[in-house]
């Protein structure tokens, strides 16, 4: 035995061996080295397990250090015999076999352990993690029999496992708890693109899916989700995350928080013991990626060879190793104060780039589809370079932004050759755009209609505007005359709706991508609008996004200034019964309604209800036969009626009955804004039908139909649309008119400003003159209603979305109570 100090390394993985390599490079003869490894094999490159699983690499190709390396350097490798305990007083380690060795210096490189979610069935054979070669072997064995695989976890590791299993011929379902894949690395937009691409490749991606249990007799047979869905599987890969492996260090009494605490020299709380890699916590950070490891190993080796330098923490970047899908992310992309997003989207080429800049420094980047400039952005980020001078051209990449002359985007555009492509969607060159401009197109819209440049996805709008400014100089007026939907987009409401229809866009992130939204997830103004446009365009398929609903529509009640809610049950046509009134009175007492008020629309409004009590009060009202009155929605509110011919000596028709029929046909329909109807039994108009969105005035010979009225800030009386002879026609015209309004008005336009904008003649032409068109509108309305007429109160009372009504917990001094 030599008299050199004995260095023991626990962990034969990437960190442990890299640390040894670094030490050998500095002073090869300094230590006698022993490496303990839990796996019975030499050191291999763990991050290449994904290509190994996918069949793109063999094990021999991913070995970093073969047996010759150990023997050539005089290293004793104890493989397949994990260390079970450390005695820091005696300075010994003891392995599972009982082998005990004395150390002078000890390096812990225990890496991390896969996190196993604590569900029933997690221990069944066929449930594997994705951490080492044995896991890959188990997956390959399962894959050879084909069939279904489930991967739990849509992060980096899970997606790589899914990709590998998919290439090996399995039918793969990825279950991810969060709404966005790889949400730690990607923002919502890039996550959505990734999901779409993986689905195109045949994987099933279930987001917001929570695993309830893994089931099977003797062996895994499938996974059951909390929402009741059931996914068969012959293998389940648990890839929800990793945790620093700290058990050994903790048992040895070293200071451990999330990871083993180390200082800048990788020294633990015991100066004889160092730690490196994924098992450590440095300056509050733990790292699950490979890059920081190289820097840590350098600092560790410097320390162990008496020339300490120190590790200062790492900025990390991520690339997904799924062939053919380019995803890159680095730094901080959570946004926030003082942060500016620069976003470039090119839907045709499937490109999304987002660079986050704060105080003229790049602080984060997310790239999808084109990651060529990833390293350049990462470099700018790490070096904290001042990018003020290249800011305008930054998003176009290094080639474009470097070179001082090209930093001005206008100069950059000027420098492009005539055949350079400006608009990728429509294949329009710079020369064609210039010809269009010199042919008289002086505005963006004129260029769009003239040569189609920037008329599709709009991501080249900036380039076209620069070309306009370049050719027209001071004659270029600058911005567009028609107002865009909101500050997140340059497109108008009409353009966005047309795109939803024509491109078949079904989800909010999809619209944002296709229409080049400049913000990652929109704003409080565009999100509710997009949700409405989608539900209107795709009545049967639309999936509600509750987070894009204004609070009243999310809670199905009206928020009041003190944060309580008011509740309005539906009373068809304003008619009620003693039983309903009793139930309302009981509910008002039971839930402490501080005021009960008759509304302008002939309903009863219960004020001061707490959000926690909403499901219960709805259940009580439901039990008495009442449903939601939608007094809170951009929706059909009320149909106000007078008593009509049944009681009134002036009544000409059954206005109450018609009102009830109208309300039964139209309730539950979402609209661009609130929508009110009234039916008056005679021209005395007691129901005030001429200030409603749709008003009916009954006369002896039939029904006058009025449209486009409202009370409100700008009082507007209705316009007479036409007169019809029968109740059925009144109903049909009403349905057609509502559908025209639903399909063509901008979100948050009442009928009054909409009718003024499009003109009464246009509405008459569509509803009165065009009989076929009217019938088509009517049937589209009724089709949509078949999906919309369900009572949201009943669903909530039955327990849906319970979290909206409950606190997550409660803090009492010295205690936390709850956790629902």
């Amino acid at each position: 035995m030599s008299d050199k100090p004995h260095l023991i390394v626990i962990g034969n993985g990437m960190a442990g061996c890299r640390a040894v390599e670094e030490i050998l490079a500095r002073d090869a003869g300094r230590y006698r080295i022993t490496i303990f490894g839990a796996e019975p094999r030499v050191n291999y490159n763990r991050i290449m397990l994904s290509p190994l699983l996918a069949g793109e690499k063999s094990f021999a190709e991913i070995v970093i250090n073969d047996e010759a390396w150990y023997s050539d350097n005089g290293i004793t490798l104890v493989a397949g015999d994990p260390v079970d305990s450390i005695n820091r007083i005696a300075q010994t380690v003891t392995a599972r076999s009982g082998r005990t060795e004395h150390y002078d210096r000890l390096i812990l490189a225990t890496g991390s352990d896969p996190f196993i979610i604590p569900v029933a069935g997690k221990d069944l054979p066929g449930v594997v993690t994705f951490r080492d070669l044995d896991d890959v072997d188990k997956m390959l064995e399962a894959a050879s029999a084909g069939g279904d695989a489930v991967v739990i976890g849509g992060g980096l590791l899970g997606l790589e496992a899914a990709h590998g299993l998919s290439l090996r011929g399995m039918k793969v379902t990825v279950i991810h708890l969060m709404p966005t894949l790889m949400e730690r690395q990607l923002d919502e937009a890039a996550g959505w693109l990734l999901k779409t691409e993986l689905e195109k490749r045949g994987q099933t991606i279930l987001t917001q899916a929570d695993t309830a249990e893994i089931y099977g007799v003797n062996r895994v047979e499938g996974v059951r989700l909390k929402d009741g869905r059931d996914i068969p599987a012959s293998i389940v890969v648990m890839a929800v995350g990793i945790r620093p492996s700290t058990g050994l260090a903790r048992a040895a009494g070293l200071e451990v928080e999330r990871g083993i605490l180390v200082d800048d020299h990788m020294l633990t709380s015991d100066p004889a013991v160092l730690a490196v890699g994924e098992c450590v916590q440095h300056d509050g950070n733990v790292y699950g990626l490979v890059a920081p490891l190289w820097e840590m190993c350098r600092a560790l080796a410097d320390c162990l060879t008496d020339s300490p330098t120190g590790y200062r923490g790492s900025v990390t970047s991520t690339k997904l190793k799924v062939s053919g899908i380019d995803v890159f992310s680095a730094g901080d992309f959570s946004g926030g104060d003082g942060c500016e997003d620069i976003v470039l989207r090119d839907a045709t080429r499937g490109i999304y780039k987002r660079v986050i800049v704060k105080e003229d420094r790049v602080i984060g980047a997310v790239l999808y589809g084109d990651t060529a400039d990833g390293n350049w952005y990462f470099d700018l980020l790490k070096k904290q370079e001042d990018i003020a001078s290249i800011r305008e051209a930054l998003i176009f990449g290094q080639a474009f932004a470097s070179g001082g002359a090209l930093a001005d985007p206008r100069a950059a555009v000027a420098a492009l050759s005539a055949d350079a492509e400006i608009c990728g969607c429509n294949g329009v060159s710079k020369g064609q755009v210039m010809a269009c401009i010199s042919g008289g197109a002086g505005t963006l819209d004129a260029v769009r209609s003239g040569c189609k440049a920037s008329a599709s996805c709009g991501s080249c709008t900036g380039l076209v505007e620069n070309l306009l400014a370049l050719s027209l100089g001071d004659d270029y007026a600058g911005e567009r005359a028609v107002k865009p939907m909101c500050a997140c987009t340059s497109f108008t409401h009409e353009e966005v709706r047309a795109a939803i229809r024509d491109k078949g866009l079904k989800e909010i992130p999809q619209v944002m991508q296709a229409q080049s939204w400049s913000t990652p997830d929109g704003c409080a103004s565009c999100r509710p609008a997009l949700n409405y446009y989608l539900l209107c365009a795709w009545p049967g398929e639309h999936v509600e996004d509750p987070q894009s609903r204004f609070v009243n529509e999310r809670m199905h009640a009206n928020i009041q200034k003190d944060g309580t809610y008011s509740v309005v049950p539906r009373m068809w046509g304003g008619v009620t019964t003693p039983n309903e009134l009793r139930a309302i009175a009981d509910a008002a007492d039971k839930y402490g309604a501080r005021m009960v008020k008759v509304t302008g629309g002939q309903r009863l409004d219960l004020f001061g209800i707490k959000k926690e009590d909403l499901p219960a009060i709805w259940a009580d009202l439901n039990a008495a036969g009442m449903v939601s009155g939608h007094a809170y929605g951009k929706a059909l509110r009320t149909v106000k009626t007078c008593v009509g011919s049944e009681w009134c000596r002036f009544g000409t028709q059954d206005s109450t009955g018609l009102g009830i029929q109208l309300e039964q046909m139209t309730w539950g329909s979402w609209m661009p804004h609130k929508f009110k109807i009234a039916v008056s039994g005679c021209p005395r108009n007691c129901a005030e039908a001429t200030i409603k969105d749709f008003g009916v005035i009954c006369v002896d010979s039939g029904y006058e139909l009025h449209i486009g009225g409202n009370g409100g800030i700008h009082l507007r009386g209705t316009d007479l649309l036409c007169k019809v002879a029968t109740e059925q026609e009144a109903l049909d015209y009403c349905a057609a008119f509502i559908q025209l309004y639903r399909e063509e008005a901008r979100y948050l336009d009442r009928t009054a400003p909409w009718v003024e904008r499009v003109g009464l003649d246009y509405v008459k032409q569509r509803i009165v003159m065009d009989e076929v068109g009217r019938e088509a509108l009517r049937s589209r309305f009724l089709h949509a209603q078949s999906f919309l007429q369900h009572d949201p109160w009943a669903e909530r009372a039955a327990g849906a979305e319970a979290h909206l009504h409950q606190h997550i917990a409660e803090i009492r001094p010295f205690a936390v109570v709850g956790g629902y």
Partner: protein, 112 residues
């Protein structure tokens, strides 16, 4: 008696993404805990600096929330009103560890 610096108030999967939930503090101000699209978690006193609207009920976008009462936009990071408006609501440090939401005890109980 050891008083924990961080209080565990429940699992993060109980927070709707791009939404919020409330955490009443007995004898103090109710707290709103927000969850952004990126999975980040933030906590503010659940009162808009404008007219005390419940911020927990607002629309969450990027790292801000729009108050449901009068559309003030509040930064989840600093608690400050964004844009033209001026005002600030207290921020309570919060973090996620092993899937649990941990909230800073001292700041959470500041109003008690």
């Amino acid at each position: 008696m050891v008083i924990a610096e961080w209080l565990d108030v429940g699992p993060v999967d109980q927070l709707p993404v791009m939404g919020a939930r409330t955490l009443p503090v007995q004898g103090g101000e109710e707290i709103a805990i927000f969850h952004t699209a990126n999975g980040e978690v933030y906590a503010l006193v659940n009162q808009c600096p404008h007219k005390q609207g419940p911020l927990s009920q607002g629309i969450v976008h990027d790292t801000s929330v729009t108050c449901p009462l009068h559309n003030w936009r509040i930064s989840l990071i600093t608690g400050k009103a964004l844009g033209e408006d001026e005002g600030c609501v207290p921020v309570i440090p919060v973090k996620i560890e092993a899937g649990r939401i941990l909230i800073a005890r001292r700041e959470a109980l500041q109003s008690v």
